[in-house]
């Protein structure tokens, strides 16, 4: 069964450092997402990406964050200057489409990348 893969599974970094989280979405999917989950709390939407541009982003996704699809398979989340409060599990997800063309809301999530900022 195709799956979304994320690397690294765990990253420890110093405050102020740049971090890039990597994701390989399911190959025929068109929509890509990043969510995060601070330990023990709810899953929060960060950003959605379609057709090589951001389609929606939350207030959490400020100028410190960026996303990129550098080639046909990878989807990355960059945090330019990490803060302590960025410590969380970051989930990448992909979907075939949205209500306009696919199965809405059936996101396929990766296993997450745990980011620890010291």
């Amino acid at each position: 069964e195709p799956e979304v893969t994320q690397t690294p599974s765990h990253q420890v970094t110093q405050m102020g450092q740049e971090v890039i989280l990597h994701c390989v979405p399911i190959s025929n999917h068109l929509y890509f997402y990043w969510y995060r989950q601070i330990l023990g709390q709810k899953v929060e939407f960060l950003v959605s990406f379609y057709n090589n541009e951001i389609s929606e982003k939350s207030e959490i996704f400020d100028d410190q964050f960026s996303v990129e699809r550098p080639d046909g398979s990878n989807f990355t989340l960059k945090i330019r200057s990490t803060k302590l409060e960025d410590s969380a599990m970051y989930f990448c997800a992909s979907s075939e489409g949205t209500g306009r063309g696919g199965r809405p809301g059936e996101l396929f999530f990766g296993e997450g990348s745990r980011l620890t900022v010291l």
């Binding site: 709810k42 899953v43 959605s48 379609y50 997800a93 809405p104 809301g105 059936e106 997450g112």
Partner: protein, 115 residues
């Protein structure tokens, strides 16, 4: 504004008991989607079900059933004859029908099934 409330933070039941997970939502949208996701101990999020707001028919899938009541803005999830493998965190979620690429999750209910 959209909001999903899962009032039960944590539930423990003995194996084979039935358990219902509550979900109440708020939205100004007249059309929307509701979802349930499961997060097992391994950490990934697993899609369970999607319901659109104009389909109030309840759904059953094996031991799982969902009760959508628009009048009370609730979308409850029942597991019958629970099993230890059902132990997980369960998230209820909501999205605008026209912006279903942005899903708002509740805080989750941690379910412990005791052997």
């Amino acid at each position: 504004a959209q909001k999903v409330t899962q009032a039960q933070t944590e539930i423990s039941v003995v194996e084979k008991e039935d358990v219902t997970l509550d979900c109440v939502y708020e939205t100004r949208d007249t059309t929307y989607y509701l979802f349930w996701y499961k997060q097992p101990p391994s950490g990934e999020l697993v899609f369970l079900i999607r319901r659109n707001s104009f389909d109030e028919q309840n759904e059953i899938s094996g031991r799982y059933s969902w009760n959508f009541q628009k009048s009370t803005s609730s979308f409850n999830f029942t597991i019958t004859a629970s099993q230890v493998v059902d132990s997980a965190v369960y998230f209820c979620a909501l999205s605008d029908f026209n912006r279903d690429d942005k899903i708002i999750f509740g805080k989750g209910t941690r379910l412990h099934i005791l052997p």
